[in-house]
Symmetry: C2
Subunit: 148 residues, 2 copies
Amino acid sequence: MEPRWLNAEQQRIWRSFLNGVARINERLDAELRPFGLDLGEYEILVHLSESERHMLRMSDLAERVRQSRSRLTHTISRMETKGLVNRVACPSDRRGVNAIMTEAGYRLLVEAAPAHVESVRCALVDRVDPDDFEALGRAMEAVTRVTD
Amino acid sequence: MEPRWLNAEQQRIWRSFLNGVARINERLDAELRPFGLDLGEYEILVHLSESERHMLRMSDLAERVRQSRSRLTHTISRMETKGLVNRVACPSDRRGVNAIMTEAGYRLLVEAAPAHVESVRCALVDRVDPDDFEALGRAMEAVTRVTD
DNA sequence: CGTCGGTTGTTGAAATGTGAACTGAATTGA
DNA sequence: TCAATTCAGTTCACATTTCAACAACCGACG
């Protein structure tokens, strides 16, 4: 089949996308570092904090933060040694493990959140025209939408 | 200072962004794997192929593909053992090293490019409304633009 | 000259990520 | 009931990435 190449404009946009994403991630990680967190760990804390009793099944959490089950196992282990989360057996399913946020984990999230939100603003939200930002949202929803 | 939180809409968009980016990267990496490449290596090949004599200074290349110098050293070493690139001393600056694409590297790029472009289309370009795609470009340019 | 500050690229160890087994538990269905 | 299958999470071996230290070189300036 003939390859359907990108035209010059599409290519320019695609490269901007790659550059932009990289730039955003750099900044977010850099500004989370003073708290001893990276974006992956931060997101875990966010999702736990939004859940009932600050607790989620590993596989559920893995899906929400888009980490492989294996990677989440490692990440949670590290966070456990830092005292940010604990593991508890799941009562209803003996295969299951719940990750539960500790008091210290919650406090760290509360402490880091304002700086993180500020990062997201500085790196993206405040830089972009509001209409374009809306469009960005629609675009990314289209990307995530299941079609296959 | 009072934290300037994101409103519900902004937060929704931000999370779509995180999800969308992750989804796109997954697909691109998955569809490059059959060629034995990941996105980082593919981009190296692209930038080399677009340069004079298929050759770039390491530090120049590092900047273009947004890899740290150290990371690029490792990546290029791996690609060298795969026979995709070579290192040659830079004549004008004895500190310098040029990465130069081999014939095999070029052939692999030519072979992988159609599938990769198709991935970019399937994962992003073809899914998004053209106006929104334009807006995405403007947004990402704004992100990359130097302001600091 | 000579030396000082900055740059280039590499190195090696430690941290992190990946993917394929693997264990034990739940579920299915004949 | 009970084998077969699927599922949850971990583990292992390995690949990749990061970080700090380093050696070699450049350029500018006294």
